[in-house]
């Protein structure tokens, strides 16, 4: 019997926060899910449902309180902060809803940054920055400062940076939350392109049903529990 190792697997993951005044807030209740390499998944749910917490745990920027998180078959719940930083750098690309780019910094430097942490040699960095920027069609903005870009351009730079280390997983947290409909669909088609052409695993968190329907699989979280998990046929 062969076991197919999932790219990511949450096993009965719960998360509770201390609210500082002594009370605890339980965000996730025993989430279990598997996502395989090459999937395009949307995680949906109302605000406060725990979908962002799920995304933070999947992205290794937060750790589960209980349960196990297997990334490529390895339990990373007990990893040191340096080991987690390594995973975030090499295996995961993030696109946030806002505050994606370093202020006062050019597009080029923003996209290059993960490679500085990842120890990519200088000659290769320049090549890869321009490849990534051409993929999101922003090569002409390379030397612009981040505050000289429109909202849609900022998200495209964030996508370029997210893919710069060729990660297994691209995680997008409400990537279109601040964008108009037209720009939103541009960004989503970018994720779709990455998924289809490069076979990237893409997980998008959203509360917009239209956006979710562009994915192949929709996981719905309500009150910290998965209430539905359905594959869609586009």
């Amino acid at each position: 019997m062969t076991t197919i190792t999932s790219l990511i697997e949450l096993q009965n993951v719960s998360k509770a926060y201390s609210l500082g005044d002594g009370t605890m807030y339980q965000s996730l209740y025993g989430i279990t899910l598997k996502i395989n390499e090459g999937e395009f998944v949307a995680i949906v749910g109302p605000s406060g449902s725990g979908k962002s917490t799920t995304m933070h745990i999947l992205g290794a920027i937060d750790l589960p309180s209980t349960g196990r998180y297997l990334f490529k078959g390895r339990d990373i719940s007990q990893y040191s902060s340096d080991e987690l930083a390594e995973i975030r750098n090499k295996e995961i690309g993030f696109v946030f809803q806002s505050f994606n780019l370093l202020p006062r910094t050019t597009v080029y430097k923003n996209v290059e940054r993960p490679m500085l942490y990842g120890g990519v040699p200088a000659q290769e960095r320049e090549k890869r920055v321009y490849e990534a920027l051409s993929l999101v069609d922003l090569t002409d903005k390379a030397q612009n400062l981040s505050n000289q870009l429109s909202g849609g351009q900022i998200q495209r730079v964030a996508v370029a940076r997210a893919i710069i280390m060729n990660p297994r997983l691209i995680l997008a947290d409400e990537p279109t939350g601040n964008l108009d409909t037209k720009t939103s669909s541009e960004i989503m088609s970018l994720f779709k392109k990455l998924h289809q052409k490069q076979g990237s695993t893409v997980i998008v968190i959203t509360h917009e049903p239209d956006i979710a329907h562009l994915a192949e699989r929709v996981i719905k979280i309500v009150d910290g529990k998965i209430v539905s998990d359905a594959s869609l046929v586009n």
Partner: protein, 402 residues
Amino acid sequence: MEYQEIINSSILALRVNKVRTALTMLGIIIGISSVILIASVGQSVVAFITNELSSFGSNYFQVAPGADMFSSIAGGSGRPLTVKDSDAIRDSGIDNIESVAPISFTSRLVASSEKEKNYLIYGLTQEGQDMLKPELLYGDLMTESDSISRVAILGKDVAAGLFGEEVDPVGESIRIDGIRFRVIGVTKSESKLAGSFLNSSVVIPLQVLNDQITGSDELWEIDISVNNILYLNQTMDDVTHFLRDRRGLADGEENDFNLISLKDSLDTIQTITNLLTLLIAGISSVSLVVGGVGVMNIMLVSVAERTKEVGLLKSIGAKDKDILVQFLIESVVMTLIGGLVGILFGIAGAFAISILAGIPFSLSLEWILLALIVSSLVGIVFGLYPARHAAKLSPIEALRYE
């Protein structure tokens, strides 16, 4: 992470808040500039005085009457030193003595045919003249055969005062206490410290001064030069023992004369300057600590302001160490620039003082190097806490920070 990139982004971050950065640097600038200023001026003063004193030669020492330098200046309470003492030292056979120059000194009315005024009169022997090495403007110095002649060598201010500026008075007569002397030479001294003193003095043979003017063989001082400067202190000890014996001082009795070498004077000046520099360095270190606390404070503000940025950097793979180094470099760049500005201000101030005081300007490279090291250290020490604080932020807390 490459350091060039971090340094660039640190400078960028500091430039965004120019006024804040400048104000934060102020404490460092004040501390560093005052240390550099005092160290440079102190070094200039020591170099200046050393240079002045060594123009007289540093291979000699002085013996003066009285228990210490001050009582001899005040007129020598107690037993005087006489020509006989000086002769005895010369004949003592103490090793290393090159020559012994008894010097007498008084103040008398000096007159030319036109003018008269009180001037200082030095009684010198041939040896004393050799030791002082005066520079001639006109005429000649005394020779051996002049030792009992009534000849006088005028300092250039005396010559100008008695005969007028630019006049060569060699061959003319002057009267000291009414006694005629023939002028045989005029000297000038360029020394800033002793120049005005030497230039307004008259030198005559010691024996003539003692026999015909003061009527006493008491000496102002005896200058003794040595062959080998390495054994200067030994020779001074020998002379002290010799004089104690000669003057019949019992064991435990204090010397009734004092010895002082140029080297002692230089050491004293050096000690005073070093003490002063250390004192200022101490005071300045308070300013550096206050400046350092200012740096820490601003770095904490900066970390707080950029908490979200730290979260973002961590989410794209920055390790704790990367964040630590980034903020540390930022604080070191700030204190180092403050240090550099302080060094420039200090040098400019020292330069201005050297021009105003008419002393040579000299730079203390050791202190500049030390200032650079200290300002970097202030940056590291006071930047470490904020930088560690930033490095230890959890990525999710940092990203959520509002």
